[in-house]
């Protein structure tokens, strides 16, 4: 249960998540998954927005 929503995990993956959340010292599987997702989102948010990408490329002349 994540904020009222449920997500399905493959049973093999869930087994691994349980195993490694214990090893890594997380207090629960939910905490481990939340942390992993937050880390992934932070990486995406750090990257350029679509607008910035377009701005970078426009100076090339070949595109508008």
């Amino acid at each position: 249960m994540f904020g009222g929503s449920k997500i399905k995990l493959d049973s093999e993956l869930l087994k691994k998540v349980k195993k490694y959340s214990d090893i890594a010292g997380y207090s629960s599987v939910e905490e481990f998954i939340t942390h992993a997702i937050e880390k992934e989102l932070a990486a995406l948010e750090d990257s350029d927005s679509e607008e910035e990408i377009k701005k970078k490329l426009q100076g090339l002349g070949y595109i508008s």
Binding site: I53, K56, L57, G59, L60, Y62
Partner: protein, 656 residues
Amino acid sequence: MLRKVTVIFTVLIVLSLQFVPGCKKGETTSVDKKVLIIGFDGMDPVILQKLIDEGKMPTFKKLAEEGTFKPLQTSMPPQSPVAWSNFITGMNPGGHGIFDFIHRDPQTLMPYLSTSKAEEPKKKISIGNWVIPLSAGKVELLRHGKSFWEILEDKGIPCTVYMIPANFPPVECEARTLSGMGTPDILGTYGTYSYYSNVRPEMKNDELSGGRFYEVNVADGRVDASLVGPKNTFKKDAPDASVNFSVLIDPQNSVGKIVLPDKEIFLKEGEWSEWTRVEFKLIPYLQNVSGICRFYLKETHPDFKLYVTPINLNPEDPALPISTPSGFSKEIYENIGYFYTQGMPEDTKALTAGIFTDGDFLTQATMAFQGELDGYRYMLSQFDKGLLFFYFSSTDQQSHMFWRNHDSSSPAFKEEGFDKYGDVIEKLYQRMDIVLGEAIKKVDDKTSIYVMSDHGFAPFNWSFNLNTWLLDNGYISLIDPSKQEEGELFANVDWQRTKAYGLGLNGLYINISGREPEGIVSQGEEREKLVNELVEKLENIVDPKTGKKVIRKAYKREDIYSGKYVEQAPDIIVGFDRGYRISWESSLGKFPKELVADNKDPWSGDHCMAYDVVPGILLTNRKIKTENPALYDMAPTILAEFGVDKESDMVGSSIF
């Protein structure tokens, strides 16, 4: 077994070469040998031959008669980063991994400039409003393969390579190199100019492509504004760093005074300033970023119009690596003054947007050329051994913009343009004849001279909406078809019902399961069948208006590429026929309704077509034996000049 024997044999040859004088690091058999290569981006063999025949390029003519002049087979696609990478590495795109100006991240389908990637520091710490990086960020060159100058330097042959494209950041080596096309401005873009006025220019979606518009007030003859620099990543939320300035306008005369924090510049209307250094303070007293720019006071009365060039990296102290050794850019500055460090410095975007007139653009492009010429003369004065490569961008950029003035077939052709600017390209070629003449006077008879271009030129009369064609033919599905013309970067695409998409200037990708995030086409038989089907259909597209074939040939990547990176290439490389090119909109994932449109843009000449439509040029003072020399033959040829064997992954061969 055969392979093992070959490997052992090769190892023995390599080992034995270590004991041959000239093949040991630091020594060379060809101490007296000199090689000079002048690269004129986009110089076209048909235009050149015509001018030679008319007696307008006597130096080129003499070189052709004493040596050889041949068309030089370009890369597929014939785009500068791809073509120069062929030249640099002796490989085709499958080997060096540069397939287009624009690649996409297969995971996110986000486009990026193919030749380099910037990464922010991975670890940062926040203290109050400040964000302090704990590790260095980095810029990475994405071109693979060893450059010919690295190989020569390993053999002790000194090399200077000036403004070569597809080498930013410059590969670490002992040669003196300055990066060219692909080198960004201080904003990290490929050129963003600033335009300040009290009158809003005509803009698409309230923005200028390749530039930024700042609306200013003129009050009591004074304008206050800012030069906007890089994002201050040392501050939370990374605000833009900026430098304030004012312009004081004389009420009677057409002159203005630009007041910067540490200097004042007087300009008449229509006048350009010299290069001006500006400092963006990121952390007071600790961290500055230095840039250079030029001001063009276009109008003082009745309206105020001020253009500022993209803020270039300062060669005295560049914020990003632009040369090897790192002090080489400073040495150039100390000898010729400031110069454009940004790759492709001609501001084509300002002309397209109407901020520049043809005359303004010609002035700015001539200034860019003058900077290259100053560098060229300095490098020639230093050239006493080894190899010198020098690059000129003007022939490419001015051909893009002035083609419509000399070719009445262009939809953008106008009589008045022909009268005033119809001879710009011809005159530019003639200037290059003088440029070549200067080099020939300087070098001795032991010097091999090469004059070359990466591709030629052709009219860009019609733009083809590849993604619209894929949509019309059922290869792409939209989430909301009623919004076909809205959004870009494939925002409205239903990937689970899309089989193929076009991205970049010649690339077509299959939506492969396991490669693209929502791929639906399996690798293997299904992909191959789809590729074959698309190739056949693409090659049969006819422009309904002209009855001409739009695509001369669609190439399967497996048929034209070899090397380690073939799998990263577009699945099909679209070779447009003469006169056609990908549309402005389609290259970044938009879907205009019209399949083929007249190109009325000032950017009216191009070369992103089939490779055999736009060959480059090759002249040398030696007799070439190869029937059809190609760009990838150049690196092995240059190595052979110094008695050095080519690398095993080079696909080209010496032309002698």
